[in-house]
Amino acid sequence: MSFPDPIAVFRTEAAELLEQIETGLLDLNHDLADKEQVDAVFRGLHTLKGSGAMFGFEALAAFTHHCETAFDQVRKGIVPATHDLVTAVLGATDHMRALIETPNGDHEAASEVLLAGLRAAVAAAADPSQTPAAAAPAKPQDVGYRIRFSLPANAMANGTNPLGLLDELAELGTCRIRADKSDIPSLDLIVASDLHVRWDVELLTDQPRSAIEDVFIFVMDEMQLDIAALSPNPAAAPAAVPAVAAPVSSATPAPVVAAPTPAPALASAPAPAPATAPVPAETRQNETKQAKSAENVRVPAERLDELMDRVGELVIAQSRLSQLANSSADLQLRAVSEDVERLSGELRDTMMVLRMVPVAHLFSRFRRLVHDLAIETGKKIELITEGETTEVDKSVVERLADPLVHLVRNSCDHGLETPEERIAAGKPAAGRIYLTARQQAGEVIITIRDDGRGINRERVRAKAEASGLIASNATLSDQELLQLIFQPGFSTAQQVTNLSGRGVGMDVVKRTIDALRGTINVASQNGEGSNISLAIPLTLAIIDGLLVRVGNGRYVIPLSAVEECLELSLDEDMRSRGRSFISLRDSLVPFIRLRDLFRTGTKPDPFQKVVVISTGAERVGLVVDQIIGDHQTVIKGMSKLHHDVATFSGATILGDGGVALILDVGHLVAAGQQQEAQLRAAG
């Protein structure tokens, strides 16, 4: 078994922490009095600093320390939270990412600039009318604590630095640190990288108990920690603790040389709480945290991918087994085959659930993007997100990020007007961008909608004609015209900005969505805004499919797109020649003869079938020779040679070892609709 690289684990966790910090900052920006967000941001910065130091990211720890200090002052009410302070720390989070990515890079100058901005923001936040003495809250009395803690044996191997924790405790006040070495084994027995020491710390501090807990926040779930107030009378402690604590914080070795003989002051230190004394809330809290931590297990994404591959292989093997069993008269074999089929189906479903992640994680990054774009463009922009709990396969979420960035940027830069233009148009000064997600029939629909100026169709057409994308006076449906914005190099922006207007980006959106077997729908109304919907399959790994035969070939139609199956009667077949429509409950549905489309060169079966498929409101029938039945389809990508073949979105291996191509439903429905439009146009 291989263990994950602790640095890689840290980077992953740090990225999550930074996202949490950013979310907290953006929430705080909406409500500067939100104490909960102030605490959340502080905790995030504190954890990042601590864990950064533990994993050797010293520059990150040192830089983050300043931001943490600033938020500590906010937390304590010394300075209020301001928009400038939030913006300064938001800028600092980007720098933290750089410090994580390239810890040995030359970041000093950038750090100084950002810290100068941070200091200025803190200074501006402080009330200038008050003297520092008056502004500072009354200094609370020092309180003594006895802190006993032990870390798991593998703590150091996992990157935790106990010395960092002790240093942080020492920063809280005056303290004496005693290592309990009684568990250190003999040299012939020791696992040298394990931790065998526990600590007993007496701390005299004016900080609240929560400050001590914050020191351990990153390791709290895995450690034993007892914090007990030393004495109800704080006056008793100061004399005892500082006397022996001084050498600990001293940089010069001299005082410590005298330390070996126990100082008399130690004897006068308040007696520790008896071991049997009820250790109240902290221990219970730890137990609860430990219980909670057991509820979730962090698993590297690649392991899930490996597991998915194994499940895929199992599904294929099960399919072979079913085929063998069905051709056998052995009833026991059939029973076992059915059991295996059921179990592999359940395993597949469980696996799919494991891979599903809410889009909230994806959406959260756009809050920061919109915040920055609003500053950059001088526009007022509100981002409204809905459906964050909608779950999608993790690989889909990962690949959706870039297209959505392009679309949101485009809305901010081109879609929304300036506040002056909006007011002149009778709209609120602040433009709105809606980012929503919902599930619909095996697909996730992600919509980016804005209430801006809308897409200028005349300009799109003129640009397309000028670029040679369409012929002059070409007849295009509204959707075809709007889809031109996804052509490579297409941009109607009159000005190229840092954000968009170079015509690069929207074609990337189209390519990515195509690669995800998804479709893009554009709607726009002049003066009212645009709406771009992305329909993406929920998963890219295994789907339920309907296996059909066309000629001698077998094909899979995603079951989620199948509405119904009908028999194409000879009469209807004859009647439809030249028009290819069937009448389905008083509505005409276009159909495509796959035998013709695939040029099988075979004679049609006497009783052909129509499989009606749909994408939302649009339907099309696919004429096939035989419907074989349902099939758990493990999706395999097409080879590079066949990558640009439309009509097929992938391939799968069947139980008998043969290969079936998976039909691209979106493409076929579009082809059917096009056929319908042409026929209607022809009258």
């Binding site: 150091m156 990288s193 065998h196 001293s250 410590v256």
Partner: protein, 109 residues
């Protein structure tokens, strides 16, 4: 690295005494104590050390004591190592034995 002064072995530890290399330091130290009656540990003045090193030396002291061997530092800890000892809480409540070993206080060597 082992060398043989007249009546004892001196083991010179590497410059890096952190968790990354501590396992091999442990093996060398164990071998030295098993082979010799007296082992002197020479720690480079500018050695980079962490808590695992302090643990290891304490562990070696236990082993040497049990095996009836003698283990000592060539010179008292100072500078970064002394600071490490303090930060880790090893300097607090030192017994006379500990002080003799780490700081060469009292009778040692």
């Amino acid at each position: 690295m082992l060398s043989t002064p007249s009546a004892s072995f001196t083991i010179t530890l590497p410059d890096t005494l952190t968790i990354r290399s501590i396992a091999s330091v442990r093996d060398d130290l164990l071998q030295a104590i098993q082979d010799q009656d007296t082992v002197i540990v020479q720690v480079p003045a500018d050695a980079q050390a962490d808590l695992s090193f302090l643990q290891l030396i304490e562990s070696a002291r236990i082993y040497a004591g049990t095996a009836g061997k003698r283990l000592a530092l060539e010179s008292p800890v100072e500078g970064r190592l002394l600071s490490l000892l303090q930060r880790a809480g090893f300097a607090e409540d030192m017994s006379a034995d500990d002080a003799g070993f780490w700081l060469h206080q009292g009778e040692i060597q």
